[in-house]
């Protein structure tokens, strides 16, 4: 059974409808990617899952309906969101940022072990643990955002354009870690990404959004062979 199932999802900002009834799923332990041009509704889709925008339609996580619930409560179910723009707490230290990631599961304790695990994935964060997060480079802040999300020990990780604005080498490093997290910790991932080739490499399922509608979907391998996608998004 799928971990996250979304059907007939609509979302609007004010008077403008951004999503017109989309349907997709993330398998338990799988990686699903949502592709599309700017303004297609990718970021809105992630925000809808987290209850950050008004929605209509069905969102089920682990079989339970979560549409319409408060963001704080959705996070507590084990859905971590690495938002567009990374959402860093600039004036707090790196370690404080990470500790906040574990806030929602305070009762289950042992954040020290989690911190060690994150510093293992991202050694640079360990070196800078007592610096303010605002002094980090863009790539380091992206690592911090992923690290903060992992502190929740999530079952589902929502990633919003993790490679945006990063040097290719840094982006590759982040994707390597994302794959490791998925394999070693069995965290399911919903990835929004502009770099279509990388996203299709990483994901097992992909959905292509155009102006708020799913126009193509299927296993990544199939989409990579799809002529329309090759021409418009992969460029060969």
């Amino acid at each position: 059974m799928a971990l996250l199932e979304v059907a007939d999802l609509e979302a609007r900002y004010g008077w403008t409808k951004v999503l017109h009834g989309i349907r997709f799923a993330v398998e338990d332990g799988g990686i699903t990617t949502i592709l599309g041009a700017n303004g297609a509704g990718k970021t809105t889709t992630l925000r809808a899952v987290c209850g950050m925008v008004r929605t209509a339609g069905e969102i089920r996580f682990d079989g339970a309906r979560i549409a319409g619930r408060a963001t704080e409560d959705i996070v507590r179910l084990g859905i971590a969101h690495v938002p567009e723009g990374r959402g860093t707490f600039m004036q707090l230290t790196v370690e404080e940022n990470l500790r906040l990631g574990a806030y929602a599961r305070r009762a289950t304790g042992a954040p020290a072990r989690d911190l060690a695990r994150i510093y293992d994935y991202f050694p640079v964060l360990g070196e800078r643990r007592s610096q303010t997060a605002g002094s980090l480079s863009g790539g380091e802040q992206q690592m911090l955002a992923v690290g903060r999300a992992l502190m929740l020990r999530p079952r589902l990780l929502l990633l919003d354009e993790p490679s945006l604005g990063l040097a290719p080498l840094v982006a590759r490093e982040i994707f390597r870690i994302v794959r490791a997290i998925n394999r070693e910790e069995r965290v399911s991932i919903l990835l929004v990404e502009q770099n279509v080739a990388t996203a299709l490499d990483l994901a097992d399922h992909a959905y292509l959004l155009e102006t708020g509608r799913v126009v193509v979907s299927g296993p990544s391998a199939e989409l990579r062979r799809d002529d329309a996608i090759r021409r418009s998004y992969l460029g060969y």
Binding site: M52, E72, P83, G87, F89, A104
Partner: protein
Amino acid sequence: MEIFVQQVVSGLATGGIYGSVALALVMIYQATDVVNFAQGEMAMFSTYLAWSMLNAGVPYWAAFFATLAVAFVGGLAIERVVIRPVENAPVLTIVIVCIGLLVILNSVAGWLYSYIQKPFPSPFPAKPFKIGDIFFGAHDLGALGVTLLVLVVLYVFFRYTTLGLAMRAAAQNPVSSRLCGIRVGWMLALGWGFAALVGAVAGMMIAPIVFLDPNMMSGILIYAFASATLGGFTSPGGAVLGGLIVGVTENLVGTYVRFIGTELKLTVALAMILIVLLVRPSGLFGRVAVHRV
């Protein structure tokens, strides 16, 4: 020299009180961008509650801590009940609601307790201390000690506890805080609760000096504004330090600069602040706001 040291110490004592009200203002400002004009009246009202308990024969420290508890819950309730409906309104709208709160608290206190000044006891001995050749007011030293203690406790709370961290996070970046599972609305309410608590301490420490009446905090609030402005509204530590500077300067200027005396004391303090602002537009320790285009 003796007079100088005495004036500095009593300046530090009142300055500590200005500083703690300033800190209460900064706590709410950082979380919500709102200057809580009702801060002083909340403190005044708490002090009247303490007075009622003392009058009914409750021992001082029991009344003291009971007042802190009531002030905390009261501050929390005010945020949830009065401020919350205008949470998303323009800042000036919230400011007007705070002004409404100010006149309500002031008026109700006058109605319940009358506008006649009442003496308020100090928990410290009336006899002055002698250190070396110099006499110090015991209440001055005690008030300074209590104020500093409160500040240290708050510092430890915000710096080292998870709840304190969550409150700082909610003030800085509400959206990200929600994504960490923090209930931002409650963090704001807690902030109001703590601000009310700090204000109550300040009220109970200043009341023995200025006597208790419904308008006793209006002057203090103005000095607290001055302190927070001087230190910078973005810096809690700066606000406290600003309070100490204002307290000491006020005392020394009043004592030594003859032509100013007590009449223009306030004006001089304000002029100083204007000058500081012109040199450092965000206060001595404040961060310069960075604006996105």
